[in-house]
Amino acid sequence: MNRFYDVTLRDGNHAIRHTLTPKFVGEYCRASANSGVWAVEVGHGNGLGASSYLVGASSFSDKDLLEAARDSLIPGGPKLAVHTIPGFATIKRDLIPALKLGVEVFRVATHVSEATVAKKHIQFLASQNVYVHGVLMMSHMIDLKGLISQVKLMESYGASAVILMDSAGYFIESDVKDRISAIKNESNIEIGFHAHNNLGIAVANANTAINSGAEIIDGASMGLGAGAGNAQLENIMATRLRSGDNIEIEHFLKMSALVEESYKEKLPRTTSSSTQSGLAGVFSGYAPQVKQISDELGIDISVLWGELGKRKLVAGQESMIREVAQDLMNL
């Protein structure tokens, strides 16, 4: 059976503007204890060391959140996982402290064409006694040949799996199938898939990934995640149950109810704006700043999404949203 990877407490932090509390982390981790989820990812939406003006400041430190998770997870239950992006996090300042805190799964992420930036971080982690996944973000922004070569680079550095992220929520089902099948034809490395729901088909895309051979599937309770949110974990599990997998669905319903009660006002949904951003292929995490700047400057938000897409911005270029908006006003 597939391994399910819960990003509620990391990608979900985007949806709640990085206000996640150690208290909620603890409650959620306890609720997930017997769910069968393989790992629970915790932290800032952009991962370790990413709390910043550029992408948003966290209410609590990485250490506070990770300790709360570690103290609430049980042996044999979900593993403690983190997301980390070279350029934000460094080995010395972020990875080593996380190792010491007991993190068991590290996902080292780069933009889909920039795997070489992850070399030192993946090599370092591969020499430790932890799981190391490579993550290719914005995986729609490269052709198949390029994608396969980036997967192989991450494999060569020592990653045990490579995760494709549909960070913009741009993929339709054939995109998912074509990419995963092509990688599976060329490599034996484990593949994971991380969907966003901008076009309303994140759960379907997660199932397509499974049917195309992906081993690791990401989801978030109530879809709590950037932009239009992630693939809704309890719905993925419900569809797996219908497909004949042995799933104890009540755990997932409990986890989603916990998120629903705690973040009622913040739950992501597909909106006109998120559909625009999905079609434009822009990173979902930009949503709050795009909304704020388009309101402030009185620009049509769909025009702004379109222009950001044309400029091919990648995750972490939030500071360019205003410049692009100003250019639009000067046209």
Partner: protein
């Protein structure tokens, strides 16, 4: 009265003989440095030293530089007596060895590697920032730190000058993927640490964060650097007028440096500004503003050092 005002900068400049230099390292940075100084009447590039005969940079320089050499540190030792100073565009790992040769010979060094051995220098801030002086009392090894550092230091200096009780300062740069070579990619942690160190020095702020993002878009994006700080009080108007001045001065040696987002407050107690750097296009394409600014700073530092020592000598004569 300082010599410069006594006889006027132009006359004074013409009295200087050419600055004789060697460049070690023939990658993108080293080759661009040579091209830049070959076009600059202030410089004479006496030697360029690589490690392999077939490096594309060396082939391009053939016939235009007196000595084209291939034996790294050994060659540096052989020619060191012929030059005033050396630019090191190799790697942090070999820099220490090169510096020892240059130091023993009593010459100056401009370091373009992230070794952090030398004194951090941002030419426009010499004399303004604590510890950023061209003084032979300390060291004649000047470190250019990083491209993000060079592009962000003027912003960090001005913003922090007009803010009180700064709690945190952040610098984020995005550069074109094509302009980030294997050394930058392998040393991304070193890039972040060095840039943070420079920002702390320039702003006096303890809590500093640096971020680097690579963008693979085609056509390649121009480098952008944003500096943001949080403080109890800020004076955005003074920041704007000072920054306009300092940007004009930086443009004298980096023509492609411009302010694209003026200082503004996205929320009370926070100020942010963004600069864009396009390259001058000597050897590298114009999107490589990151490489351009570090090379322009290196050349400017050498000029300033030589001017300084010239003034010093003449003062002694007077």
């Amino acid at each position: 009265m300082p010599i410069q005002t006594l006889i006027g900068p132009e006359i004074w400049k013409s009295q200087l003989s050419k600055i004789k230099v060697a460049v070690i390292g023939t990658g993108n940075i080293g080759t661009d440095l040579c091209e830049r100084m070959l076009r600059d009447p202030n410089f004479e590039v006496v030697a360029v030293i690589g490690r392999r005969k077939d490096s594309p940079g060396l082939l391009k320089l053939e016939g235009r530089i007196q000595k084209i050499l291939y034996e790294g540190a050994q060659d540096l030792e052989r020619i060191i007596s012929l030059v005033d100073g050396v630019f090191d565009a190799t790697s942090a790992y070999t820099h220490a060895e090169h510096w020892q040769i240059v130091n023993t010979a009593g010459k100056w060094m401009v370091d373009l590697t992230p070794s952090r051995i030398g004194l951090p220098i941002v030419p426009e801030l010499i004399g303004y920032v604590k510890g950023m002086t061209l003084s032979s009392e300390h060291s004649n090894n000047y470190s250019m730190i990083t491209c993000g550092g060079q592009s962000g230091a003027p912003l960090a200096y001005v913003l922090s000058k007009h803010a009180r009780n700064i709690s945190k300062l952040e610098i984020s740069s995005s550069i074109a993927s094509l302009s980030a070579g294997p050394a930058t990619r392998d040393n991304i942690d070193q890039y972040i640490e060095s840039t943070e160190m420079l920002m702390a020095q320039v702003s006096g702020v303890e809590k500093v964060k640096a971020i680097l993002v690579l963008n693979p878009a085609e056509p390649p994006v121009m480098m952008r650097t944003t500096v943001t700080l949080a403080a109890e009080t800020t004076d955005v108007n003074l920041m704007r007028s000072d920054l306009a001045l300092i940007v004009r001065n930086v443009q004298k040696y980096v023509p492609g440096y411009e302010l694209v987002v003026e200082p503004y407050a996205p929320m009370p107690g926070m100020v942010t500004a963004t600069a864009k750097v396009s390259g001058a296009g000597y050897y590298l394409p114009s999107y490589a503003g990151n490489l351009d600014i570090i090379n322009a700073a290196a050349v400017q530092t050498a000029k300033r050092h030589m001017e300084g020592s010239q003034i010093h000598n003449q003062e002694n004569v007077l």
